[in-house]
């Protein structure tokens, strides 16, 4: 179950990465169309970047690895990043409903700092999972998955130049 939630969170994060990468591109005031296109680009790119992790996982399971090892690691990963994800989602909701004078506070206090912290939080979660699991296969899969998550925005940024 946690593995599925993590994949969904990865897709959501990829959409946000695509959104961020689409910002500040056209100079237009109304750039909603570009934002949506950016989110789609992120969602489309993520599965491709996840292929190495998924392939490794499939091969490892095929060779006899117990799915439970990955399941418990996914539980721990989710436990670490879930509070972070909830804070971001609450801030996004606040951004959507607050009046304009206060709206930017959601961005200034939470969304901006969280964007900055995001790679560190994801990497820290991976390190904890790898140390706790103590298995090379989990370490490789977690590292490949984290690379997939963190590579979306830089790749889209590079393409957008």
């Amino acid at each position: 179950m946690s593995l599925i939630v993590l994949v969904l969170l990865g897709l959501l994060d990829a959409a946000f990465s695509g959104f961020r990468s689409a910002q500040g591109r056209s100079g237009l005031i109304d750039h909603a169309h570009g934002d949506r296109a950016g989110m789609l680009r992120g969602v489309r790119l993520f599965p491709w970047l996840s292929l190495p992790a998924l392939a490794f996982l499939a091969i490892d399971l095929f060779l006899g690895q117990d799915l439970q090892a990955y399941g418990s690691s996914a539980d721990l990963f989710l436990l670490i990043i879930a509070p972070f994800a909830v804070i971001v989602l609450v801030a996004l909701a606040a951004y959507g409903i607050l009046r304009w004078e206060l709206r930017y506070l959601a961005s200034a206090i939470i969304l901006g700092p969280c964007t900055f912290l995001r790679p560190y939080v994801v990497a820290a979660a991976a390190v904890v999972v790898i140390v706790r699991a103590g298995e090379v296969s989990v370490a490789v899969a977690a590292t490949l998955a984290v690379i997939a998550v963190l590579a979306v925005e830089p790749i889209l940024d590079k393409r957008g130049k």
Partner: protein, 280 residues
């Protein structure tokens, strides 16, 4: 040129349109104790030692588009409109709001899109950099907006201020580009044109704004120049006392105030606060 640390964008275009020698810019930044900025400039494309004008203009546009993103997050258009609305001369005759150093004209275009100011208010943006003014005009045309943009010196009589008594001058993020000794002249120029009022937004300098600028530019900006200059903007911003003293000397006929909270208990909403002057 202003003493102390410099923003890279202050060096990329010469005011006279002369080519910019890359090594000169690098040496100047090194002499100001800015090795990181010098390294960034040393990597910019150049031909025969001169900064490639086309690439520099393209970089300038990318930087200002990124900057617009922060303006959107700060709700800058709405902030400006909410103050300007209170400064408009009475009556229904045409009033002109002039945005000095408008860049890509985000503030005026955002106001125009939402119709945040009354119909009789004409929106005019002006920037010394013709590349930015032209792009602002192009974007405005694409968006079908009721505002116009011109390149030049905003305070040259007749360029954008024709009837000062029915003109409100605004800017955002401009004043920190001026040296403290040039601020008097900045306000005096507006007083000479007898503008009805002015409102100039800039960063409130304090540790929080510098830290916030660093964090936000790391998180949001893609260009190394943007990341560097964003932090430098906060470091170079003028304290309220400096701005008020300059406004008092340069435009003594104006009642001036800086609308911000206490330095020791900064209000989160005051990160970018206006100095407002109204002709007495």
């Amino acid at each position: 040129m202003r003493e102390g640390p410099l923003e890279i964008t202050d060096l990329l275009w010469s005011g006279s349109g002369e080519p910019v020698v890359r090594e000169d810019a690098v040496a100047l930044l090194r002499s100001r104790g800015q090795p990181q900025a010098a390294r960034i400039v040393s990597l910019l494309p150049a031909r025969d030692g001169v900064l490639d004008a086309e690439a520099t203009d393209a970089l300038g546009l990318r930087i200002h588009r990124e900057l617009q993103r922060l303006g959107e997050e700060l709700q800058l258009g709405r902030r400006v409109a909410s103050v300007v609305r209170t400064l408009l001369p009475a009556g229904s005759e045409p009033v002109r709001v002039v945005d000095v150093g408008c860049g890509l004209g985000h503030v005026l275009r955002a106001i125009a899109v939402r119709g945040d100011l009354p119909e009789h208010v004409e929106l005019v943006g002006v920037d010394l950099n013709p590349v930015l003014a032209d792009e602002a005009a192009r974007l405005s045309a694409v968006e079908g907006l009721r505002c116009r943009f011109v390149a030049g010196d905003a305070f040259e009589p007749g360029l954008v201020v024709e009837d000062g008594t029915r003109t409100v001058v605004v800017s955002s993020g401009l004043m920190h580009h001026l040296a403290p000794e040039d601020l008097d002249g900045f306000f005096a120029a507006q007083a000479r044109l007898e503008v009805a009022a002015f409102a100039h937004w800039d960063i409130a300098p304090c540790l929080w704004s510098t830290m916030g600028a660093w964090l936000f530019h790391q998180a949001r900006m893609r260009e190394a120049v943007s990341r560097h200059d964003g932090v430098m903007s906060a470091r170079r911003a003028h304290p309220a006392e400096t701005l008020l003293a300059a406004a008092g000397r340069g435009a003594p006929d104006y009642a001036a105030e800086v609308r911000e909270g206490s330095r020791w208990r900064p209000k989160a909403l005051d990160v970018l606060r206006p100095l407002v002057g109204v002709r007495r």
